[in-house]
C-alpha cells in the first residue's frame, strides 16, 4: 500500500505524470487474510445460530416424517402420514379460532399504541414518565405476568375489587367461560405487548424531521391532519412490520394462555396443542409436523401481507 502511494506522490511532483496508477493488488496472504477476517468475527454468532436454530429445525423436519415418541431409540419413517393426519383431522385446526381473539386484540393494541405514541411525541407534561409506564410491562417476564394476572382475575381478586370501588359488584368468573376467558387472556396480551409497539412507533415518529410539523402548523393543520398526512405515511414501514408481527404473534400465542389456564376452557391455542401432542401424548413426529405447518402458515401470511402492502419508500419532503 504505502509504496504505491509514494510513487503516485512522486510522480505528481515530477510533472510528467502518467494517468493515476491503479493500486497494485495486495500480496496474496494479505488478500486472503482480508477475505477471512469478517468470517472470523462471525464464527461465534454463526455457530450459535446453526447450533440452536438451524440444526434443530433440520432435525424437526426429519422427525416430522417419523413416528418418533421423543425418547425411544426406535423410530420408523412414515412418509407424509403425519401431514395427512394433520390436514384430515379437523379438531387439530379448530384451535385456530382462538387466534381470532388475539387478532382482534392486536387491532386494539396497535391503535392504542399508535395513539399513545402520537400524543407522547408532542410536548406533554411528564412525557418520559408516561413512556416508561407504557413500556414497562414489556420488560416483565411473561411467566410472572401470567401469575400476576391469575390473581388479578381471581374470584374476589384485583379486578373485582377495583370494579367494586366504582360501585360495580361483579360476580363474574373471568376465566370461567370460553369467551370471557379468551377475552381476558387477549386483554393481558394487549397489556403486555402494547409497550413494544409503542416504542417502535415512537422511534419512527421521532425520526420525522421537526420542521415538517412547524410548516404544517403554519399552514394551519390541526393535530389530526398532522397525524393523517405526516405521521401516518412517515411510519408506514414500521406500521406494516408491526401488523406482520401481530398476526404471526396471534397465530402462535402461547405463554399467557399456557401459564394462566393451561389451555383449559376453550383457550387452547395451536402451540399449546402442539406441545400437548409432543409431551402429553408422546407424538413427537406429529408435533414436529404441526410445528412446521405453523411455520409455513406464518411465512405464507407474511408473504401475502408483503404482496398486499408493498414496502414503498417513504418520501415526505
Amino acid at each position: 500500500m504505502t509504496d504505491t502511494t509514494e510513487k503516485a506522490a512522486s510522480g505528481a511532483g515530477v510533472g510528467a505524470a502518467p494517468a493515476v496508477p491503479a493500486p497494485a493488488p495486495a500480496p496474496r496472504p494479505a488478500r486472503l487474510w482480508r477475505g477471512v477476517t469478517p468470517w472470523l468475527f462471525l464464527i461465534a454468532p454463526l455457530a450459535l445460530l446453526v447450533t440452536f436454530t438451524y440444526a434443530p429445525i433440520v432435525n424437526m423436519v426429519a422427525y416430522s416424517f417419523t413416528d418418533w415418541d421423543g425418547v425411544s431409540p426406535e423410530l420408523h419413517y412414515t412418509g407424509v402420514e403425519n401431514y395427512t393426519e394433520l390436514f384430515t383431522r379437523d379438531d387439530l385446526f379448530r384451535v385456530f379460532f382462538v387466534s381470532g381473539y388475539y387478532l382482534a386484540a392486536s387491532v386494539v393494541q396497535i391503535v392504542a399504541a399508535l395513539y399513545f405514541a402520537t400524543i407522547l411525541s408532542f410536548q406533554v407534561r411528564f412525557r418520559n414518565f408516561f413512556k416508561g409506564v407504557l413500556f414497562f410491562p414489556y420488560l416483565i417476564n411473561g411467566v410472572a405476568i401470567g401469575f400476576v394476572f391469575l390473581y388479578f382475575f381471581q374470584d374476589g381478586g384485583t379486578l373485582d375489587s377495583v370494579l367494586s370501588l366504582f360501585g360495580h359488584h361483579s360476580d363474574h368468573a373471568w376465566l370461567g367461560t370460553p369467551v370471557s376467558a379468551n377475552v381476558s387472556l387477549a386483554g393481558v396480551s394487549v397489556w403486555r405487548y402494547m409497550g413494544l409497539n409503542f416504542v417502535l412507533f415512537l422511534g419512527a415518529i421521532q425520526s420525522i424531521p421537526g420542521e415538517l410539523y412547524e410548516a404544517a402548523e403554519l399552514d394551519g393543520a390541526n393535530r389530526w391532519r398532522q397525524f393523517r398526512h405526516i405521521i401516518a405515511p412517515g411510519i408506514k414501514p414500521v406500521l406494516t412490520l408491526t401488523v406482520i408481527l401481530s398476526v404471526s404473534g396471534s397465530l402462535s400465542a402461547f405463554e399467557i394462555p399456557y401459564i394462566m389456564t393451561g389451555g383449559a376452557t376453550g383457550t387452547e391455542t395451536f402451540v399449546i396443542q402442539t406441545l400437548n401432542l409432543a409431551f402429553r401424548f408422546n407424538k413427537t413426529g406429529l408435533a414436529s409436523a404441526a410445528a412446521i405447518v405453523l411455520l409455513l402458515i406464518i411465512l405464507l401470511v407474511t408473504w401475502l401481507q408483503r404482496r398486499l402492502v408493498p414496502d414503498d419508500k417513504v418520501d415526505l419532503v
Partner: protein, 438 residues
C-alpha cells in the same frame, strides 16, 4: 443455583445428539445391576436424579445420604433435583448421561426398559419381598422399584364433616353427594375443591380404577373394553366428579383455584374435601401446623363404593427408581436403591405404604384397618397396552385435559351432555384399541 447448569448442557447436547443417538441406545441392553455382597468394597460416586426439589433443598436427602454412607463408606451420593422432572429427564435420556439412579419417567415404553435400565433381578425372586414388582417387569426381569406405595382417597377435614352431622363414611356416590350437600347447607365451607387450575390433581381421578368393583384386573379391563361403559370404574368416578360440580358443591371459580392455598384452607376447614392420595396427608398436616389448627383434623377416606359391604382401596407404586444401564457404578447404584427402599425410612417419613410386603401399614391408614378396608394391588400385565391406547387415542386418562373438559361441561362452560361426552371418549378409546389389534 448450580443445579441449572447441567440442564442447559443437556439441552444443547440433546439438540446436537438427538439424531446421532437414536438407534444406538440398545448397546448395553440386558445389563444387570447386581446387589453387592460386601458393602465395604463398593466404591464410586453416584448421581441420583429426583423430582423432590423440596427434600434436596431442605437437606433431607443429604441426611439420607449420610446415613447410607455408614453402611457403604466408599460410596459418595450426589443428588440432582429436577423441577420439571418428566420433560427434562426425557430429553436427557437421548444421551447416555442421565444419572446413575433415576426415577422411570412415564413416557418410557415398558418394552424399552431393558434399553435404558439395568435389571434388579428376576420377578420371582423380588416378588417374595417387595410390592409393585409387576409394574416394572419385562420378560420376567424387574427394572425398577418404588420406594413408597400410595393409595388414592379423599383428604377431608373431619371437624367440618362432623359439624355437618356426617360421622360415617359414605358408601355410595349418591350418599357422598348428599353428604357434601349437607356440608354446604350447614357450614360455610366449600364442600369439594377441584384444583382445576393446578391440573394434575384432576388426573388422580383415574386412580378410582379398581376400587369401585374391588377388581385387581381393572387395568386389564381398560385394555380390553370401554372404560366409560355403563358401570365401568372410570365412568363411576367421572360421574361423581360431574355431579359434584353440577350441584355447585365446589369452589365458585375453579379456573382460578390454587393448590398451595388449598392446603391451609382445608386445614382451617374453609375447604372440606379433595380427591388425592395418602402422600398428600402429610402435606396437609404440615399446613395445619403452620395455620395453627389441629393436624388430627385431617382425615382420609376411601372412594364411596362397597363390594360385599367392604370398601376397597388400591395400593400402587409412586415413581420407580432404576439404575441407568450406562452407569459405570452399577453396584453402588444398586446398593442405593436397595438401601433407600429397605432401610432409609423414606416411606415412614412420608406416611406412605412400605414397599416391603411384611411391613405394617402406616399410621394414616389406621382408620382403614379399623373399618376393614380391603387393600388391593392391581395386576399391571396390560399396563403398557393401556398406556399405548391412551396416548394413541389422545384421550389422556393420565392427563388433565379431559377432566377439565368434564368440569367445564358440568358447570355449563361447555355445551353437550354427559352421555355424549362419555360416548365420545369411549368411541375414541375402543376404535384405537381395535386399530392397535388385540
Amino acid at each position: 443455583m448450580h443445579m441449572y447448569r447441567p440442564h442447559l448442557l443437556a439441552l444443547a447436547a440433546g439438540a446436537l445428539l438427538l439424531s446421532a443417538c437414536t438407534g444406538t441406545g440398545g448397546a448395553s441392553k440386558g445389563a444387570d445391576a447386581k446387589a453387592p455382597d460386601d458393602p465395604s468394597k463398593v466404591s464410586g460416586t453416584i448421581k441420583v436424579l429426583t423430582q423432590r426439589t423440596d427434600l434436596v433443598q431442605d437437606g433431607t436427602m443429604k441426611k439420607y445420604a449420610a446415613e447410607f454412607r455408614r453402611t457403604y463408606p466408599k460410596v459418595k451420593v450426589e443428588f440432582e433435583a429436577l423441577t420439571n422432572y418428566e420433560t427434562e429427564v426425557k430429553i436427557r435420556m437421548n444421551t447416555e448421561n442421565y444419572g446413575d439412579v433415576l426415577l422411570i419417567p412415564g413416557v418410557i415404553k415398558k418394552s424399552d426398559y431393558p434399553k435404558f435400565f439395568a435389571s434388579l433381578g428376576t420377578r420371582d425372586e423380588r416378588a417374595t419381598k417387595y410390592r409393585f414388582t409387576d409394574f416394572t417387569t419385562v420378560d420376567g426381569k424387574v427394572y425398577g422399584q418404588s420406594p413408597i406405595g400410595v393409595t388414592p382417597g379423599f383428604v377431608y377435614n373431619k371437624r367440618v364433616w362432623q359439624e355437618a352431622g356426617v360421622t360415617e363414611w359414605p358408601t355410595t356416590p349418591a350418599e357422598f353427594v348428599a353428604d357434601l350437600k349437607a356440608i354446604k347447607s350447614k357450614t360455610d365451607a366449600v364442600p369439594y375443591y377441584t384444583n382445576f387450575a393446578a391440573q394434575w390433581p384432576l388426573t388422580s381421578w383415574t386412580f378410582v380404577n379398581g376400587s369401585v368393583h374391588c377388581d385387581t384386573r381393572a387395568t386389564t379391563k381398560l385394555a380390553q373394553g370401554d372404560p366409560w361403559a355403563e358401570g365401568a370404574d372410570l365412568r363411576v368416578g367421572d360421574t361423581l366428579l360431574y355431579d359434584v360440580v353440577r350441584q355447585k358443591l365446589v369452589e365458585k371459580d375453579p379456573t382460578t383455584s390454587n393448590w398451595e392455598q388449598s392446603k391451609p384452607r382445608l386445614a382451617k376447614g374453609e375447604i372440606t374435601t379433595q380427591w388425592l392420595g395418602t402422600w398428600a396427608v402429610i402435606q396437609f398436616q404440615d399446613a395445619a401446623r403452620k395455620a395453627g389448627t389441629d393436624p388430627d383434623d385431617i382425615g382420609f377416606m376411601p372412594f364411596p363404593a362397597q363390594v360385599d359391604g367392604k370398601f376397597c382401596a388400591v395400593a400402587g407404586p409412586d415413581y420407580n427408581q432404576a439404575v441407568n444401564v450406562h452407569s459405570e457404578n452399577k453396584a453402588a447404584a444398586r446398593a442405593w436403591i436397595d438401601w433407600f427402599t429397605d432401610k432409609s425410612g423414606y416411606d415412614r417419613d412420608n406416611l406412605a405404604i412400605s414397599p416391603l410386603k411384611d411391613a405394617p401399614l402406616p399410621e394414616v391408614l389406621r382408620p382403614y384397618e379399623d373399618a376393614g378396608v380391603k387393600l388391593i394391588e392391581l395386576d399391571d400385565t396390560e399396563g403398557a397396552r393401556v398406556k399405548l391406547i391412551d396416548t394413541e387415542s389422545e384421550v389422556g386418562i393420565n392427563a388433565p385435559e379431559y377432566r377439565q373438559k368434564l368440569v367445564d361441561l358440568a358447570r355449563g362452560a361447555r355445551r353437550g351432555t354427559l352421555d355424549d361426552f362419555f360416548a365420545d371418549l369411549g368411541k375414541r378409546w375402543t376404535e384405537t384399541r381395535k386399530n392397535l389389534g388385540s
